[in-house]
Symmetry: C2
Subunit: 406 residues, 2 copies
């Protein structure tokens, strides 16, 4: 059974070689250390072709020959691994209350992971651009000082993004039609590596698909908790973006027409139950007196501490939010049938209390026994969207966009 | 911006030629009549390559040289079209109350379109297999008597299908774990063309994507009304099946926890508002007295006739069902952001009365103005799933699975 395809593109010999370089690179990532003979045996490419492809990848400093031989019968074989020193992939993440940066080497190991508070709605759009560009610049400077070449840099934002890298709107940041990509490219002095802006839930899904405990699962959804709630959808190994780039914007999914009023004017939206402001109101009823919250990190810690100490209001609030989250997971299951839904962002921080309620609700709502998908908690937090931004450059590499030899 | 990819496959020279044969075939389908020079100019392939590819496709009787020359400046050019005579692609559709068969030529023209009543739940699984096999046999006999070669045959069923072509369950047919594909293959005497079984909403989506008024739209969802309600999802030009093949099974999407009781035991499911039994109960309140309905075609006609004559009960029932359908379309829009949602099956039959309510609800629920996706009515009914079954064979062809020359 096949699916319908996007318009096929004409192919030539260069495409064949590019495809095969990417196949070898990917094989080494998932099977290192391995020999040329292993690659030939597993991919079906002949040994001479594999030798030529490996030579090319060694030349580009993407692979490294360890010189070690495996203890095996027959001729000793040189073992190949990914070369982790010369390159770095960078991701940044703009949250309602923080900025984060992550850099990965070719093997997906974190080279750095920074996080700083950021006044979100308090910062104007101009200050936001400047703050993102400054952080990006510092990360790039640090990595290049280590002798690394940047493979790519992607900024994750909590809102839909145009193909030109503009942020259409990010209400929790007070942004609308912000041309972040051109500003960033300019601030980085028109760099020779690709720079991109993308939606945070989408990038978190790419990160889970590449580096999470369910990596490689072809049908995976991330559900990211924050001031906003977003889903990132991987279907059959590919990110689902939708016609306008709005796929997964499920914060205003209506769970109950008779539910509480949402700031969008309707009733019973997912955000009105499980968004951070709703959670804080329910679990910390005294907080509103201090005025609107803009940095939720201290509140999240307080909620977790209260729940841990057995506070009833906090426990009830988390159970109620978890049940509603489970209801949303069931909607995603009905529409998409993912193998796993991964809870990220604030949902990961509070997962000890949310997950049991989520799982109970999902199980109760499954149409037939055994049909309920698996719900898991992200192990890539904090910074899963930033990690996804970095992963995007590694995905590009394995799709055949290789750096030219220095 | 790229998406993450499924595991890349090694490529060789045969793949390049296959890819390019498919590119040419697809170009001619969408641009015929066209010359070799047109193909070269549009695809970027060089003229000698195009000539060789076209010769191959002429040899396989997939293209035809019309001998006509276009009225243009310069050398006259032979014009190519798809050869529509030698081949046929076949699709069958098993509904709760009917069987349908459609055959298409390479250009997507209908060669035949048959429909017959079928007692659905009344027929045992054994009789169902026999009825499907007999209809398939008659279609194949008719087409081969016309000198056509069968490219493929696919049966659409209203339920999830295993990769082995078994029907896991189709409650409205009383089927569970029915090995339809092996039975069908045997009844067709192990044919030399591919035979498949697939989900009806998925196949309807393939049909819309290939032959409907929104053909080629990369993000498209079909919403098929019947005893059951199913969605078929095309995202970025590819069918979304989900981890277990359950994607789009949205009949039990809960629209209102305080809604009417559904046969699944929960409240407020989409089917409890807009499934055929619910529609018949609301629009024809006298019908239940005659016992459970198994063939809904006469009831659908009665509802349409009443609505046309201004009957208030029928009008109210259709408006209410349309609003709930609009609510479901909004859920699909939140999760998937399709460019268009196409109403098919019974929803197409009743679209004159359903569509205004659907559109009003979708518009009212859009988070921001201009974000509401477009809702359309299928022009491929009756038999859009059968058309999709036939389209599957044409998709295979354009993915490079070409018949060998006779």
């Amino acid at each position: 059974m096949i699916g319908t395809q996007g318009a096929a593109q004409p192919a030539d010999l260069t495409d064949v070689r590019t495809t095969n370089l990417a196949v070898v690179l990917r094989y080494v990532r998932t099977h290192a250390p391995c020999s040329r003979a292993d690659i030939a045996a597993s991919t079906g490419l002949n040994k001479a072709t594999v030798s030529s492809l490996v030579a090319d990848l060694l030349d580009r400093r993407l692979l490294r020959d360890t010189g070690l031989t495996e203890n095996r019968i027959g001729r000793p074989a040189a073992m190949l691994v990914l070369e982790t020193r010369p390159y770095a992939a960078v991701g940044l993440e703009v949250g309602a209350d923080h900025l984060a940066a992550v850099a990965l080497d070719l093997a997906g190991e974190r080279l750095l992971s920074w996080r700083r508070a950021y006044p979100g709605l308090g910062a104007g759009a101009g200050r936001a651009e400047a703050a993102v560009a400054a952080l990006a610049g510092r990360v790039v400077t640090k990595l290049t000082a280590q002798g690394r070449r940047i493979l790519g840099l992607t900024v994750a934002v909590p809102g839909p993004v145009t193909t030109a890298g503009g942020v259409r709107f990010a209400p929790h940041l007070g942004w609308s039609d912000l041309d972040l990509l051109p500003a960033l490219t300019k601030a980085l002095h028109r760099p020779d590596y690709p720079v991109a802006v993308d939606n945070d839930a989408n990038l978190a899904a790419l990160a889970e698909h590449r580096h999470g405990p369910h990596a490689g699962s072809p049908d995976l959804v991330t559900l990211i908790g924050g001031v906003d709630i977003g889903a990132g959808i991987i279907a059959d190994g590919r990110l689902v973006r939708g016609g306008q780039g709005f796929a997964g914007r499920i914060g205003h999914l209506q769970l109950d027409p008779g539910g509480p009023l949402c700031r969008c004017g309707r009733r019973g939206c997912l955000e009105a139950y499980a968004g951070l402001p709703a959670l804080v109101r329910a679990a910390l009823p005294d907080t509103d007196a201090d005025g609107p919250v803009s940095d939720f990190a201290p509140e999240l810690e307080r909620i977790a501490a209260l729940a841990r100490s057995g506070d009833e209001a906090a426990g009830t609030a988390l159970t109620e939010a978890g049940s509603r989250l489970g209801q949303a997971v069931s909607v995603l299951a009905d529409v998409l049938d993912p193998r796993v839904v991964v809870l990220g962002g604030a949902f990961a921080t509070l997962s000890d209390w949310l997950l049991p309620a989520v799982e109970a609700e999902v199980k109760a709502r499954a149409v037939a026994p055994g049909e309920a998908g698996h719900v898991a908690v992200s192990t890539l937090e904090p910074g899963s969207a930033a990690t996804g931004g970095a992963a995007l450059a590694l995905d590009r590499l394995e799709a055949g966009h290789l750096p030219v030899p220095a």
